[in-house]
């Protein structure tokens, strides 16, 4: 088309004017998308991975925080749990344009390359805001330190626990005089309890997530004192006999029909909700689901099967993802936000999580929460994932464990082979040069 084309075909709106107009409209629309940060207002962008009941509770807490802090602009974004969240967070931090604050599983801290992807907390600001070491459990606090710098502030501890249907368990004769689950222990105790429940349900004793049995396996393996990595964290010292022993128990329970042979996560929850199972071994975060469903249930620590109440768990923390130009003002507001969340973490605890902030964890308000405070004593016995760049919640190592162990309950893979496969997978990960 030459210049003559336009002259011959006059249109009411010239092409050029149209293009200019639409470009301007585009710019104006893009402008609308920019956050409304009034001058002098500190900005706290928060990224998290909380869905379901936790997500709803977080939104409520954020609304209250915003009401009480009009000078801070809090913008919270929720992403899908696990790898989708962590990949996005890592990429934003790798580019130096991360949000001011994000949630992170404590077990993933080392694997998240804290020195490049996270900014350390300014300790003086934390002290000013009242966030100090003695207000947390020593083991949890220690895990937040990397090379002496503090990279995470813990919000909660979330153990693997026992849910029990009070009506089914009463009928099975498992409740004590107070209507609580009478503690049972040992392999025989567990099997007897599961059998008694199955008598009532006619289907399963307990529901567990068999497609990803890492938490169940690791709880029991740690009860056997099984070790994972050596001191240096570079050598695998997995005890094959103990690992096989745990998997054999899981297989036997599934063979007898006391556990489902196959249940993915939603099925594990559904089986407990609809009474196919009278017990459920799962993380404590489903308390809201069952409360909303008005299920007659309560909660207890994961049973002592091999002589201790160790149970798998993790901790949600706040971290400062790496920003190229971190503003002191925004960081101050961020620390203020974190301190507020810790002080109000009894609201968070309603979702099942044990508050990490000890002034709240020992408060009457928290102790009055049932069933959420029924298993608080396990906080000290929570077993975090072995530490490596490929371990932690939603990590590669958990997927490898899921791949190897899921076949055991379904009867496809003998326990010995499952352990051999898992061992080989972890050795391969150890051999891979660490990318962090």
């Amino acid at each position: 088309m030459g210049t003559h084309g336009r002259a011959r075909h006059p249109s009411p709106l010239s092409r050029r004017a149209f293009l200019a107009g639409s470009a301007a409209t585009g710019l104006a629309l893009a402008g609308c998308g920019a956050p409304d940060v009034a001058a002098g207002r500190a900005r706290v962008r928060q990224w998290n991975l909380f869905g379901g009941g936790d997500g709803a509770r977080l939104v409520q807490m954020h609304e209250q925080f915003q009401d009480e802090h009009p000078r801070t602009a809090l913008q919270a974004y929720t992403f899908a749990w696990g790898a989708p969240f962590y990949t996005k967070l890592a990429m934003s931090a790798a580019g130096g344009r991360a949000p001011e604050v994000a949630t992170l599983h404590l077990s993933r801290l080392r694997g998240f390359s804290p020195t490049t992807l996270l900014d350390p907390f300014p300790r003086n600001m934390l002290t000013e805001a009242g966030i100090t070491e003695e207000k947390f459990l020593p083991d949890v606090w220690r895990r937040c330190l990397v090379d002496g710098d503090l990279y995470a502030v813990p919000l909660d501890t979330h153990p693997f626990v026992t849910y029990y249907n009070t009506e089914i368990c009463a009928e099975a004769g498992l409740l004590d005089a107070d209507g609580r689950l009478a503690p049972f222990s040992g392999v025989d105790g567990l099997v007897d309890a599961l059998r008694a429940v199955r008598e009532v349900t006619g289907q399963f004793g307990a529901s567990v997530e068999t497609t990803n049995p890492w938490r169940l396996w690791y709880s029991l393996y740690r009860q056997l004192d099984g070790e994972f990595f050596d001191e240096s964290g570079t050598e695998l010292i997995l005890d094959d006999d103990k690992a096989v022993q745990v998997l054999t128990l899981m297989r036997d329970l599934a063979d007898e029909g006391l556990l489902p042979r196959f249940a993915d996560y939603p099925a594990c929850v559904a089986m407990f909700s609809n009474g196919q199972a009278g017990l459920s071994f799962n993380g404590e975060w489903e308390v809201t689901t069952y409360t909303t469903a008005e299920l007659p249930f309560s909660m207890a620590p994961f049973p002592d099967v091999y002589g201790s109440i160790r149970t798998a768990g993790d901790s949600h923390t706040f971290v400062l993802p790496h920003q190229r130009d971190r503003s002191t003002e925004d960081t101050r507001a961020t620390v203020e936000y974190i301190a507020w969340m810790l002080e109000h973490s009894v609201d968070w605890a309603a979702g099942g999580h044990i508050p990490a902030y000890q002034p709240v964890a020992t408060s009457d308000e928290y102790l009055a929460l049932t069933p959420q405070s029924e298993y608080r004593e396990v906080a000290d016995d929570v077993q975090f994932d072995p530490q490596a760049w490929f371990s932690g919640s939603g990590s590669q190592m958990q997927s490898e464990a899921a791949a190897a162990f899921a076949g055991v309950t379904s009867g496809d893979l003998p326990p010995e082979q499952a352990v051999a496969q898992f061992r080989a997978a972890v050795l391969k990960l150890l051999d891979t040069p660490s990318p962090v």
Partner: protein
């Protein structure tokens, strides 16, 4: 708008001899028109392709830090990495299993919908409806249907006295489950292409065949199917490419399980690059997969150009 375009075309053809501008300025003007596209294409296509290849020779980490030159280490690691070849095979297996039903069933559905009279609209709607659903909804529905014990499919099987099938937990069945779900979900698109092609077959061919005494079966084999050959070629090409891209359904339904038996190569690339931060190694695997796709495309191109010559 449409009027504008046609009048421009008419004007152009009418004044082709009366042009005053030199070919050179015409060409320059053309360049300005494609420049915005070229810039975007270079920034979002050419540059990533080149830099991806470059990165495959370094230990680039998503977590940052200095990347050092590895030479061919990523590539030799890939050759010895069984997970790469297992997942590549899973992708190929899915493609081989899903393409035939997605083409054949679409054809049968199109033939049915084309023949039926007053309820044709219902068939067209019913066959195409699943295609408009997002993948997350599709997988959610099918995962519940496949559940053991209370899932719709297994409840039906036990209801008629058959044993349950471990749709999601049996290694030998899981891929088939994904193929069934994918067929239900996407067959509507191929169906639409076939239906359009069927309606494009001139009626006089059938009339001539009928006059010559061809039975309905002969009309199908001698008129309809040969006339659909080009469409079938197109559908097979599109379907192969779409199937090789498999990731969403498997990731959402099975997360590559049970025991990685369905994990497609794209999921392994995603896990390596984004979950484990090893962008350099993930790039090397991507390039290998890229080469496989090119090989398949070239093979198809050969087949097709061969067929065209044959028909001339």
């Amino acid at each position: 708008m449409a009027v504008n375009v046609s009048s421009t075309a008419a004007g152009r053809s009418g004044t082709a001899t009366a042009r005053t501008g030199s070919p050179r300025t015409e060409r320059l003007a053309g360049l300005w028109f494609v420049l915005p596209f070229l810039a975007l294409f270079a920034a979002f296509m050419i540059w990533p392709v080149v830099s991806g290849l470059w990165q495959s020779f370094f230990n680039v980490s998503l977590a940052g830090g200095e990347a050092s030159f590895l030479g061919l280490d990523n590539w030799t690691e890939m050759i010895g990495d069984a997970a790469v070849w297992d997942s590549l095979w899973n992708t190929v297996a899915f493609t081989l299993m899903s393409t035939p039903p997605l083409v054949a069933i679409a054809l049968v559905m199109a033939l049915l919908a084309n023949r039926s009279g007053w309820f044709g609209w219902l068939l067209r709607f019913a066959y195409f409806a699943p295609f408009v659903l997002p993948v997350a909804v599709v997988t959610l529905i099918w995962v519940w249907m496949y559940q053991p014990g209370f899932g719709l499919v297994n409840a039906f099987l036990t209801g008629i006295g058959l044993p349950e099938v471990g749709w999601l937990n049996d290694e030998s069945v899981a891929m088939l489950s994904v193929v069934i779900t994918t067929t239900w979900w996407t067959v509507g698109f191929n169906f639409l292409l076939y239906l359009a092609a069927l309606q494009g077959i001139p009626q006089h061919l059938y009339e001539a065949a009928a006059v010559d005494g061809a039975s309905p079966r002969q009309r199908l084999w001698r008129v309809t199917l040969p006339m659909l050959r080009r469409t079938t070629g197109l559908i097979v090409v599109l379907q192969l490419v779409a199937s090789l891209k498999i990731f969403d359904q498997i990731y959402l339904m099975l997360d590559g399980g049970p025991n990685n038996s369905t994990r497609p190569i794209i999921q392994y690339i995603y896990e390596t690059g984004f979950t484990s931060y090893r962008i350099g190694y993930a790039s090397a695997i991507s390039y290998m997969f890229f080469a496989v796709i090119i090989l398949i495309s070239v093979a198809q191109f050969r087949l097709f150009s061969g067929r065209k010559e044959e028909s001339q």
